[in-house]
Structures are given as structure tokens and as C-alpha cells.
Symmetry: C2
Subunit: 328 residues, 2 copies
């Protein structure tokens, strides 16, 4: 258990280090705290003993360890009230009546990314939660057409396909069949239903039914199984701990991987959760702060991704604010 003063010291070190990424010495802390640097040094070595602080070398100042950040986030941090200016910027986005919710979310995350210099992410609902609402086919020219898939949550995807020797009429009939028989099915089960419910029927009256079936099969099996929107990836380039190319390469390759980002959603906690360093699964120097949101049948996850040395208090408040605004 930590004493009050140890908490104080830890808090000061974390906040100082977040402002300016250089190891913090005892003298700096003793200025703010009403005691000598020697006393602070003793407290510091206690905190190091407890695994909350680290040294970069034997005679350097202290840096928060992963556990140090953890302790700070769980026990010491007090959410920082957003500035009026920041709130105003977000409000102008939220109050735009013309925009659909999904657009509002993306726009506001852009604003947040610019205000904080961190990367932001929206994860939409997964394909097994999206139900097929309707498909549309529009012929483009001889033998080529575009298939449009719309889900009950307003997610839209399209794919251009090529068909030889299939009449438009046959295609239209198949489309009707799909809309009548399998609308309402979760997207990731549509492929299977196509095989059992549609293929046998079109087999009877469409000459090139194999081809037609395959085309639709691919449309659904290629359906993005997760809406992912990463905003401000380049913000990492201006963070000092990511000044070497290899680190950027690993982080970018992770951020480009939707399956991996998808994992952020996995836990069932609806509140704000903080994944620090190795917990982030992205890089030991990265922190992910996320929350789920739900508004009507729209649901998903918001995340802010930045260096471990992140302005936790500010980001947590912003996410809370976002969540509140989205949910009403």
C-alpha cells in the first residue's frame, strides 16, 4: 500500500513526464512538494521497489513503468474538465442535423485527433450483427453490373461483377429471390443460405446458374466483416517516442490490420477502458483508450490510440463526452 505522499510523488512524476518526456529527478519534485530532494529520493526508491517507477540508467531520473501508469490511471488521475474551446468544436459537429450518426462520429473523431494529436478509431458492428436488408443490382454495360448490399443498420457495400450469357431478366429474378427469401439474415450467414435456399431454385431455370451463384456468393463472402475507420494515423509521426522508422513500421502495420483492431472491441465492458503498453497488443509504447457506444440499433466502439505517455485525464474526459453525445 502506498502512503499519501508516495501517491503524490507518483502522480507528479507521471504528469511531468507526460508533459515532457525526459526522466524526472528528485529536485524537480521537491520544488512542488514541501520537502527536500533527499526525502523525495527515498520515496522514489520505494516506488521503484513497488514496480511503479523505472530508471533509464543507474543515475538517471525516474520514468513511470507500465504499472506506474496503470496505478496512475486507476487511482490517482482526476478527469480533466474539457476546455470550452474543445467542447465548442465538438458541439458544432454534433449539432449538425443533416449528418447521419455515423458521419457525425467520424467527423468528431477527426476533430479529436487534431486537438489531441492522437489517432482515433471507430469500429462498427460486425457482420454477424448486421442483417441483410436488401440487395440491388444495376446493369452498367454488356456483361457487367454492380451489386449493392444494404444492411439493416444502413451499412452499404458494393461490388462490380461480370457475367457472360446471363440475361438481365434472370439476374433480376435472382435478386428478387434473395430479397424475399433471405433478407433479415445475418450477413455472415448469407453465403450459406444462398447455397441451400437459392442455388437449388435458380438451378432450375437459369442456364448459367453456376456463374450467377458464384458471383453472388463472392459478393457476400467478401463483405467487410467489420467496419473500421482509423483517423489520423500520421499523428504517430509527431510523437517523440516514435521517431524511429522501425517503430513506426510496426505500429502502422498493426493499425492497418482490421482483424487486430477488431480485438479492441472484444471485452464486454461498456465503460471506458484503458490498455497500457503491452496490454494494447499494438506496441509496448502504445496506449489504447476505448469505450463502447449504443444509439438505437447503431452500436460500436470508439478508441483513441496514442503513446503510452498519453494525456490520460484529457482523453478519458473527451471519450466520455463523445459517448454521452452519441448516446442521445
Amino acid at each position: 500500500m502506498l502512503t499519501d505522499r508516495q501517491c503524490e510523488v507518483l502522480k507528479l512524476i507521471v504528469e511531468k513526464y507526460i508533459k515532457d518526456p525526459i526522466p524526472v529527478g528528485s529536485k524537480t519534485i521537491s520544488k512542488t512538494l514541501k520537502c527536500s530532494s533527499a526525502t523525495v529520493r527515498n520515496e522514489m526508491s520505494a516506488l521503484e521497489e513497488a514496480g511503479l517507477l523505472e530508471k533509464t540508467h543507474t543515475s538517471s531520473g525516474r520514468v513511470p513503468s507500465e504499472n506506474g501508469y496503470r496505478y496512475y490511471v486507476d487511482h490517482l488521475m482526476e478527469p480533466k474538465k474539457m476546455t470550452g474551446e474543445d467542447m465548442l468544436k465538438l458541439q458544432t459537429v454534433f449539432h449538425n442535423q443533416q449528418l447521419a450518426l455515423s458521419d457525425v462520429i467520424v467527423k468528431s473523431l477527426q476533430v479529436i485527433s487534431d486537438m489531441t494529436n492522437y489517432t482515433t478509431v471507430v469500429l462498427g458492428s460486425t457482420s454477424h450483427e448486421n442483417l441483410l436488408k436488401q440487395i440491388e443490382v444495376v446493369p452498367i454495360d454488356e456483361g457487367s453490373m454492380v451489386v449493392i448490399v444494404i444492411t439493416d443498420r444502413g451499412h452499404v457495400e458494393h461490388k462490380n461483377i461480370r457475367l457472360q450469357n446471363v440475361s438481365l431478366d434472370e439476374v433480376k429474378k435472382t435478386v428478387n429471390l434473395i430479397n424475399n427469401l433471405i433478407a433479415g439474415t445475418p450477413i455472415d450467414e448469407v453465403s450459406a443460405k444462398l447455397e441451400y435456399e437459392i442455388k437449388p431454385i435458380i438451378g432450375k431455370y437459369v442456364k448459367q446458374h453456376e456463374q450467377l451463384y458464384n458471383a453472388f456468393y463472392h459478393v457476400f463472402s467478401d463483405f467487410t466483416n467489420q467496419e473500421v475507420n482509423v483517423v489520423g494515423k500520421n499523428k504517430f509521426l509527431s510523437q517523440p517516442e516514435f521517431s524511429n522508422i522501425e517503430k513506426i513500421q510496426t505500429v502502422f502495420s498493426k493499425l492497418d490490420n482490421p482483424e487486430l483492431l477488431h480485438k479492441i472491441e472484444e471485452d464486454d465492458d461498456n465503460n471506458i477502458k484503458v490498455y497500457i503498453g503491452s496490454e494494447s497488443k499494438i506496441d509496448d509504447d502504445v496506449t489504447v483508450i476505448k469505450t463502447k457506444f449504443k444509439n438505437g440499433n447503431q452500436e460500436g466502439t470508439l478508441a483513441i490510440i496514442g503513446p503510452k505517455r498519453m494525456e490520460y485525464d484529457r482523453v478519458v474526459s473527451m471519450l466520455e463526452y463523445m459517448k454521452e453525445n452519441i448516446e442521445r
Copy 2:
């Protein structure tokens, strides 16, 4: 005018430097060329005089200047036959009958990006070349719907909109009106036509016609006026001349700017064109190699973007090969 031997020397230096980005000394060249290093040195200083070579410091080896690369590309380079392996990889993409052309192009550019370690780009046709084919509206839930716009070239965009107190019937009528009256119009003229041809009509029978008009107006005015597809941006991270973060920042910000990339298309040359260094408008160390393609009513531009120190011969052959395959 350069002598034959000077050409030889320049060619060797450029090719050596492209393989390995360290300044090339006279000794290295004299090994391949049947003459002494002193002779080579004389030729080198002539080439430097002519502005085709540069030194990094008074006693360093030579590096090609921008004009040096230019001369190499225009006069010395001989297109390099693609390896069977490379061709095979691309052929498997091109021979996939199921994919629409646009998907084939993107897929093959992914392959090229991986083979070469350069970034690739497809620019589709601009919005004034795309004609409105059809719009579709699908209601999602109370007061929200998705509008889908399809162009004659199979380009599809959608937007979720919110409408209060507008009946589905009124929306459907408006959609029919648009499909009947302004299909066939270039996308970037649709907004204007909406105002003159649709607004007056719906004004008569739709209560909330302002709102409805505004919604559609925004759908078209937000239409992406240029299809841009950048593949393998991260390849720049592994190029030695882009090992410092600031350079990466400037390059990435340019590559993220569709308007700027759009400029690549601007010249009317249908053949392969090479923009070296400052000509690339991206960065002095960047080269853009591009060509236009046309297949039926699908047309656009392909580009390969990499360091100025690019394998010009290989890339030019690949682009030629791509263009040929796309155009039939």
C-alpha cells in the same frame, strides 16, 4: 553532347547507385570499363560540368543529379524484360474472370507494390466524366435512410441522411423525378440541375421540400470528385532516403491529398511519363511514373511512386505490361 564513353559512365553510375545508395567512385567504374580510374575521373568531371552528376562533398564519389536521372531515363535506359515469376504473379490476377476491371487493377497494383517495394496509385475518372446512372433510396429506420448514387461507369457512393416529417412516399417520388429527369448528367452538374429542375417541382407537393432538397443537394455536392486508390504507402518507410520522420511526414501528407495526386493525371500524354524529383511535386527525392489507360468507358491513370533512386527500367516495363493487359 556526350561522348559514347560518357554515356557509358553515366549509365553505370546511375545503375550502381540505384542498386546501392552510396556515392560511386572512379575505381568501381574503371573495373567494368576497360580504362584507368584517372580516365574515368576525367569523364566524371565532364559529366559533373554538364550537370548530370553531383558530389556530396569535395572528395566524395559521384551521385546522379536530377538531370542525370533525366538523361538516363530519356536516353540510356533500356527497358528490362520482366521476369517470368513477376509475369506469372500478375497473370493470375488478370485471368481471374470473376473480378471486375477495377478490382483487377487494384489487386494487380497490390502485387506490383509488393514486388517492387514502391507505392502504387490508381486514379479513376473524375466526376465531370462520370454521368449519373441512377439513384436508389433505402429506408433504414424512422427518419433515416441511405441514398445510393450509381454512375454510368459503375462507380457507387452512398450517404446516410436524416429526414424529419417527410413521408417515404414523397421521397420515392423525388427519387423517381431525379432518375427520370437528370440521369445522364455529369455528376458535378447534378447539384445545379437539382436546383433548377427538381426543386421547383417538389416545392409544390412536398411539405418539407427544403429539407429534402438540401439532403439530396449534399449527397451530390459531397460526391468524391475523384476516385483515388493509394496502395502500399508504407513502402516508403523501408526506403533508405526516407529514414527520417520529417521526410516521411511530408510525403505522407502529400499522398493523403487526393487533389494533389489528381494533378498526376493532368497532362494529356497517353504514354508512360516519368516525373523525377522536383518534377514529381511530392518531394525532391520522389519519382512518379505514370500512364493513362482506357478500356471501354473505363479510363484512368496508373502511377508508381517511389524514391528518385528508383529501378526505372523495371518499373517502366511493369507499367507497360499493366497498361497492355488492362486495355484488352
